[in-house]
């Protein structure tokens, strides 16, 4: 004879499944917000050969915002709205540029297939630059820059979170790269 408890078993299994899904969804949500690029999947540059790799995520960004709000409030405000900042720089000296160009082209196509909006596409003899923005729910939630300077380096920048392009541009212009080139690069894990 079937008891009421036995009849509840499918519901209990569904309940457990929901718990597992909730946990997985929460973890997944941290890893892949809409503005984030799946860098592993895209396989743009060989990680072991990167000259610069920066991969900063939510909690650490909040700490940065807290630490800088006193002396650089605009920077702190911008950082506090972000979920991730990722930068990969790949030196092209001695590398197969054609392959890197093809991978960049593939990444551009991937971006467009995923609904990223092209705001800049520029190609000339000195550089290729692609800037894409991701919109979600009426907000800009992702920015991706793909840049290639033949003979020098190629780079991918992915910024995830609440983005104000003008603010980002201002901060980027204000920060002088040569002053920061003494920053030791993060070695790939």
């Amino acid at each position: 004879m079937r008891t009421r408890a036995f009849r509840s078993l499918p519901i209990l299994l569904l309940y457990i499944l929901c718990i597992l899904c909730a946990v997985a969804a929460q973890a997944q949500k941290r890893a892949d917000p809409p503005g984030a690029l799946p860098l592993g999947e895209l396989g743009l540059f060989p990680r072991e050969k990167l000259s610069v790799e920066i991969d900063l995520h939510g909690p650490l960004l909040r700490l940065i915002a807290g630490a800088t709000k006193g002396d650089d409030p605009e920077f702190a405000t911008m950082i506090s709205g972000l979920q991730a900042i990722r930068l990969q720089v790949f030196p092209l000296a001695g590398a197969d540029e054609a392959t890197i160009k093809a991978r960049i082209g593939r990444a551009v196509r991937w971006l467009e297939e995923q609904g990223w909006v092209s705001t800049v596409r520029m190609r000339d003899k000195d550089s290729e630059v692609y800037i894409y923005l991701k919109e979600s729910g009426g907000k800009i939630v992702g920015l991706t820059v793909l840049a290639l300077e033949p003979g020098r380096e190629a780079a991918l920048i992915n910024i995830v979170g609440r983005i104000d392009p003008a603010q980002l541009g201002r901060l980027g212009q204000r920060l002088n790269l040569p002053q920061l080139e003494r920053v030791p690069t993060k070695k790939p894990k």
Binding site: V23, R30, G138, G169
Partner: protein, 166 residues
């Protein structure tokens, strides 16, 4: 030179070239213009050149947009499209959301504990991360400077995202 022939001088003939090109010159005026052109090589050359330019421009092709562009538009539109569920589906979704909300506590607690561990990072690690964040933003600035491009507010406008939503 300004030849006058049967009441039409060069100045007037040159003015009539335009409506003549567009077929808007009345018949009588068209005949007057033709007569002037027969006796004025300069105006005739001008009319001929104007006509040749128009013929060449009208013969230019109207290239088709590559199909992959339309395909990307279709896919991007499909991604962004909101599918309005039927009422029954809404109800099921609401029930599922309620169950998830009740059960997410355990999983969320696990995630929060991991995040708390990250938040206890040393001040040295924070300083390093701050430098890396500035470096990354400066790189964006470098790309902008090298290419003469600017990240501007009109990028938001191009995406039709209102500023106040930021």
């Amino acid at each position: 030179m300004n030849r006058k022939d049967d009441g039409l001088d060069c100045r007037q003939a040159l003015l009539w070239i335009e409506p003549s090109l567009d077929g808007e010159l009345p018949q009588g005026d068209e005949a007057l213009l033709r007569r002037h052109l027969e006796s004025c090589p300069a105006c005739a050359a001008e009319r001929a050149l104007a006509g040749e330019i128009q013929r060449e421009l009208r013969a230019l092709p109207l290239p088709e947009c590559p199909p992959e562009v339309l395909e990307r538009v279709r896919r991007a539109g499909a991604q962004g499209a909101l599918v309005v569920p039927f009422p029954a589906r809404r109800l099921r979704m609401a029930l599922a959301a309620a169950v998830l909300a009740l059960t997410v506590g355990g999983g969320a607690a696990w995630i929060i504990e991991i995040e708390r561990r990250e938040e206890r990072a040393s001040s040295e690690a924070v300083a390093r991360a701050t430098a890396e964040a500035r470096f990354a933003l400066a790189y964006v600035g470098r790309v902008s400077r090298r290419t003469g491009l600017e990240l501007r507010d009109d990028m938001r406008q191009r995406m039709s995202v209102p500023a106040e939503s930021q």
